[in-house]
C-alpha cells in the first residue's frame, strides 16, 4: 500500500504543478489581476510541496521496511543492511535521487509561496509559475521514465544490496546536501525568469533572491568539501581533487553560485549589475542541470558515475533545452529593455566585484570546456584525455589572480577609489605575501611555482581578509560583515592547505614484515600484525601499525582492506592520524609472496586546512544569511510597531 500511496501523491503533485503553471500564466495575461490570483497560486504551491514530501516519505518507508516487492528496493537494498543505509538507500539510486530532487524542489517552492512577501505580486506569481514548470519536467521524468514505485511480481526473497562504497555515513547525506544546493539555484533561476517576465529586475528582486542563493551556496560548499574529504580517505591514495567529470560537475554550479552571490549583493545594496545577476542566475541553474546530466547520462567516463542510461540523459537534456534555452532567449529579448543600474568606476568595490565575477566565469568556462573537450576531440576522430595537468596550468593561474582581487575588493570604497590608497590599505597583506613567499622558499626549498604562489597569496589573503574589521568596534560590526571576513579567510586557509600539502607531501611506499620499521617525515611506523575481522556485511583484514615520533609512541593506526559480498567489492579503509600540522595517512596493501605486506604511508602537512577552509567558507555564508534575515526581521518588527502606534494614535 505504501508504494501506491507514494505514486498517487506523485501524480497529484504533478497535477498541482500543472495547475500552478496555468493559474500563473493566466494571472500574468494583460488585464488580469496578479494580486488577486497570488493567494491561490501560493496555496497550490504549498500543497504541491507537501504531496512531494508524502511521496518521498512513502519511498523511505518502503526501504525501511525492506519491501522487496518494490522493484527499486529489491535492486538497491538488502534486508541485512544497517538501518542508516536502508534509510539513505532510498536516494542512493537514480529513481530515488530524482524523487528527492523534486521533493526538495517542491518544498522550496512551498517556502517561497509561504515566506516571500516583499516581491511585487506579479513577479511572485511569475516566479512560482517558473518554479512549477521546472517541477513539472521532473515529475514527468519520474512518472514516465523512472517510476520509483514500480512493483515486482513475484517479489524476490531478498535484495541485491547497495554499492558498498555508498555505505558510508558521510556519503549517505552527500546527495541531499548537493540537491539542496541545486534546488536553491533553481529558485534563484525562477526569481530571475519571473523578474524578466515582469521587467522587475531591481533591488527588491535581489533581496528576495539573496537568501536562496546564499543557502544554495552554503550547501554546495559543504557538499564539495565533504565529497573531497570522502574521496581523500576512501580512495586510499591520499588525493583530494582529481578534476574528474563528476567532480567538475559539482564545481561548476559552485563557481557560478559564488559569482551570483557577489553580484546579487551589489544589486541588493547598490542597484548595480542587473544584467549580470540575471545572467548568472540562469547560468548557475544550468550548471546544476548540466551536472545532473553528466552524472546520469554517462557520456563521460567517470569513477563516480552510477546507474547511467543514455535515455535518461536525453530526457534531462530535453528539460535543459526548454528551461535554459528558453531563459536565455528571454534574457536576450528582455534585458535590453530593463532600466540601467547604477554606474561606477573601474577602481571601486563594484569594479573589484565585476573582476571577481569575470574571473570566476572564466574559470567556469575553462572547467566546462576541459570537461567536455574529449567529446569534441572524439568528433574530430581523436581519442584524448583532459586531466589535472590541463586544469592546474590554466584554471590555477586564473584562480590565483582571483585571490589577488579577492584580497583587494573588500578594502575598496564603493563607486570610486584611488589605486594608491588601496595599495596603502593593503600594505600589511602585501608585506605578508612577500614574507610568506620568501619564507617558504628559504625554509622549504625550491618547489613548483604554482604551490609557492599559492602559499604566499594564501597568507596575504588571510591578512587582507580581516582588514575590513580593522578600526571597527568588533561587537557592533554587522553579522554580514563577519560572514564575509570568515568566508574570505576560509578561502585563504583552504588555499594554504592545498598549496602546502601539494608541495610538501612525503610519500613512503614499502613492503614490510611484522616488526619492520618504515619511516616517513620523522615518524616510525611498525607493522605489529594483521588480523581478520568480521563486520555487518563485510569481512576485512586489519593491520596494526604502531606509530612513534622520536621514540615516543604517538598512536596506533588500523588500516583495513574490506571485502564485501553483495555485490562483490574490495575497498581500502585508510587509517589517518590527525595532528595540528597535518595528517599521517596509512593504507594496507596486499601480502607479497615473501610474506611481507605492502604499506603506503604519507605525511601530508597542512592538508586538513583544505576542508577546514571549506567549512569556514560555508560558515561565513551562514553568518551572512543569518545577518541578513535578522536585519529583515528587525525592520519588519519596527514597521509593525510603527503601524501599531499609528493605529493607537488614530483611535
Amino acid at each position: 500500500m505504501t508504494a501506491e500511496t507514494g505514486l498517487v501523491a506523485l501524480w497529484l503533485a504533478a497535477a498541482l504543478a500543472l495547475a500552478q503553471l496555468v493559474l500563473g500564466a493566466l494571472a500574468l495575461k494583460p488585464g488580469a489581476d496578479a494580486a488577486r490570483a497570488a493567494p491561490t497560486v501560493r496555496a497550490v504551491a504549498t500543497v504541491q510541496g507537501a504531496l512531494a514530501l508524502v511521496a518521498m516519505a512513502a519511498l523511505i518507508a518502503a526501504f525501511l521496511a525492506s519491501d522487496m516487492s518494490v522493484a527499486l528496493v529489491a535492486a538497491n537494498s538488502h534486508s541485512m543492511k544497517p538501518w542508516l543505509y536502508k534509510f539513505a538507500g532510498a536516494w542512493g539510486n537514480h529513481e530515488g535521487s530524482m524523487l528527492l530532487w523534486v521533493t526538495i524542489l517542491g518544498l522550496a517552492g512551498a517556502a517561497v509561496a509561504r515566506l516571500e512577501h516583499r516581491l511585487r505580486a506579479d513577479t511572485l506569481v511569475a516566479t512560482l509559475a517558473a518554479q512549477a514548470t521546472i517541477a513539472l519536467g521532473f515529475y514527468a521524468f519520474l512518472l514516465f521514465a523512472s517510476n520509483p514505485f514500480a512493483r515486482l511480481d513475484p517479489a524476490p526473497a531478498d535484495g541485491a544490496g547497495l554499492n558498498p562504497l555508498l555505505q558510508d555515513p558521510g556519503l549517505a547525506f552527500h546527495p541531499p546536501t548537493l540537491y539542496a544546493g541545486y534546488v536553491g539555484l533553481s529558485v534563484a533561476f525562477s526569481f530571475a525568469v519571473g523578474a524578466l517576465v515582469t521587467r522587475d529586475v531591481g533591488t527588491g528582486f535581489a533581496r528576495a533572491m539573496r537568501p536562496w542563493v546564499l543557502g544554495a551556496w552554503i550547501f554546495l560548499t559543504l557538499g564539495i568539501t565533504a565529497g573531497s574529504y570522502w574521496a581523500y580517505y576512501e580512495l586510499g591514495w591520499g588525493g583530494w581533487w582529481f578534476w574528474d567529470p563528476v567532480e567538475n560537475a559539482s564545481l561548476m554550479p559552485w563557481l557560478a553560485a559564488t559569482a551570483l552571490l557577489h553580484s546579487v549583493s551589489v544589486l541588493a545594496t547598490r542597484d548595480g549589475l542587473r544584467a549580470w545577476t540575471v545572467m548568472l542566475a540562469v547560468v548557475a541553474f544550468s550548471m546544476s542541470m548540466i551536472g545532473t546530466f553528466l552524472v546520469r547520462s554517462g557520456i563521460l567516463t567517470s569513477v563516480h558515475a552510477f546507474a547511467v542510461d543514455p535515455r535518461r540523459g536525453a530526457f534531462i537534456l530535453a528539460l535543459l533545452v526548454i528551461y535554459i534555452g528558453g531563459a536565455l532567449l528571454l534574457f536576450g529579448l528582455r534585458i535590453g529593455t530593463v532600466r540601467q543600474g547604477k554606474l561606477f568606476e573601474a577602481v571601486s568595490r563594484e569594479g573589484a566585484l565585476v573582476a571577481n565575477n569575470l574571473l570566476l566565469t572564466v574559470i567556469l568556462g575553462i572547467v566546462l570546456i576541459g570537461t567536455f573537450y574529449p567529446i569534441v576531440a572524439a568528433a574530430m576522430g581523436v581519442q584524448l584525455s583532459v586531466g589535472p595537468p590541463f586544469f592546474d596550468s590554466t584554471a590555477g593561474p586564473v584562480a590565483l589572480l582571483l585571490v589577488a582581487v579577492l584580497a583587494a575588493g573588500p578594502v575598496m570604497r564603493w563607486r570610486r577609489d584611488e589605486a594608491g590608497e588601496v595599495a596603502q590599505r593593503l600594505f600589511p597583506a602585501i608585506a605578508a605575501t612577500l614574507f610568506a613567499g620568501v619564507g617558504a622558499f628559504v625554509l622549504g626549498g625550491p618547489i613548483a611555482p604554482l604551490p609557492l604562489l599559492g602559499i604566499a597569496l594564501g597568507v596575504g589573503l588571510a591578512v587582507a581578509s580581516v582588514a575590513p574589521l580593522a578600526k571597527r568596534d568588533l561587537r557592533r560590526a554587522p553579522l554580514q560583515l563577519w560572514g564575509m571576513v570568515v568566508a574570505h579567510l576560509g578561502v585563504a586557509v583552504a588555499l594554504i592547505g592545498m598549496a602546502a600539502s601539494t608541495a610538501y607531501t612525503q610519500e613512503r611506499l614499502v613492503a614490510v614484515g611484522t616488526g619492520d620499521p618504515a619511516r616517513v617525515a620523522g615518524f616510525t611506523v611498525r607493522l605489529e600484525g594483521v588480523r581478520p575481522l568480521v563486520g555487518d556485511n563485510w569481512t576485512a583484514l586489519e593491520g596494526r601499525l604502531a606509530v612513534t615520533l622520536d621514540d615516543a609512541p604517538v598512536a596506533v593506526l588500523r588500516p583495513q582492506v574490506r571485502y564485501f559480498t553483495t555485490p562483490v567489492t574490495t575497498t581500502n579503509e585508510s587509517a589517518i592520524l590527525t595532528r595540528w600540522d597535518g595528517q599521517l595517512y596509512a593504507v594496507l596493501g596486499t601480502l607479497g609472496e615473501d610474506g611481507r605486506w605492502q604499506l603506503r604511508l604519507w605525511w601530508k602537512p597542512m592538508v586538513t586546512l583544505i576542508w577546514f577552509g571549506g567549512f569556514l567558507i560555508a560558515l561565513g555564508g551562514a553568518l551572512a544569511l543569518v545577518g541578513h534575515q535578522w536585519r529583515l526581521w528587525r525592520q519588519r518588527r519596527r514597521a509593525d510597531d510603527l503601524a501599531e502606534a499609528t493605529a493607537w494614535g488614530a483611535a
Partner: protein, 191 residues
C-alpha cells in the same frame, strides 16, 4: 553580458551581440553533448602501433614442449597472429574455439601469456585446446605495454616483415574469423 549597466557611447552597440553570446555558448555546449549522447559509445583503447613494426622482444617459453616467442619469428615472410591471452581470463576461454578454427585454416598463431604460470598455462591448453606454435611468458605485462595493448585477450595480425597490420580487441567471436582471415590475406601482399 553586463550590457544593462553600460554607459552611453560605444558601450551599448558592443553589448548588443554580447547579450546573445550566452545563448550561442549554450547552443555550442548542447551540440557537443548531443553528439556525445548519440554517437556509438566506443570506449575501447586502440593501439597506436598498428602500421608500425613490432617492438623487439624475446620471451622465454612457458608451455610444455613449446618454444618461447621473439620478434624475429615474425620476420620470416609469412603473416602470423600474435595472441595476447592469460589462463586466468574468462573471455580467453570463449575465444579458444575460434583460435582452433583459424589454426585449422592454416594460420600460424603465436601467443603471449600475461602474468601466468607454466602449470596454469598447461592446464588451460589441455582443457581448451592448443592452437599455438609457440607461447612466451610475459610475467609483468612488458610486451603487452610495448604493444599498446590494454587487456586480455587481444590479437594482432603481423605481416611477414614484422609490421603490425591489425589489432583485434577482446575475444574473437565466430563472426570475427572471416575478417581476420581477410586481414591475413592482405598482409601477404606488401603494402
Amino acid at each position: 553580458m553586463s550590457a544593462g549597466e553600460t554607459a552611453t557611447g560605444a558601450g551599448p552597440r558592443r553589448a548588443r551581440w554580447l547579450l546573445w553570446l550566452p545563448l550561442c555558448a549554450f547552443g555550442l555546449v548542447l551540440a557537443v553533448v548531443l553528439w556525445g549522447l548519440w554517437r556509438p559509445a566506443d570506449r575501447t583503447v586502440y593501439s597506436a602501433m598498428v602500421g608500425k613494426p613490432l617492438p623487439e622482444f624475446t620471451l622465454p617459453a612457458i608451455a610444455p614442449g613449446k618454444p618461447g616467442v621473439s620478434s624475429a619469428d615474425f620476420r620470416r615472410g609469412t603473416p602470423r597472429l600474435l595472441n595476447v591471452f592469460a589462463s586466468w581470463c574468462v573471455p580467453c576461454v570463449a575465444e579458444a574455439p575460434q583460435l582452433l578454427t583459424l589454426r585449422a585454416a592454416g594460420v600460424p598463431i603465436d601467443a603471449v601469456a600475461i602474468k601466468d604460470t607454466p602449470a596454469d598455462v598447461a592446464a588451460f591448453l589441455q582443457r581448451h585446446g592448443d592452437p599455438y606454435a609457440s607461447v612466451g611468458s610475459d610475467p609483468h605485462s612488458r610486451l603487452q605495454l610495448a604493444l599498446g595493448s590494454s587487456g586480455v585477450p587481444e590479437t594482432f595480425v603481423v605481416d611477414g616483415q614484422g609490421v603490425i597490420r591489425l589489432q583485434h580487441v577482446g575475444d574473437i567471436r565466430a563472426d570475427d574469423v572471416p575478417a581476420l582471415l581477410r586481414a591475413l590475406a592482405e598482409a601477404r601482399s606488401p603494402r
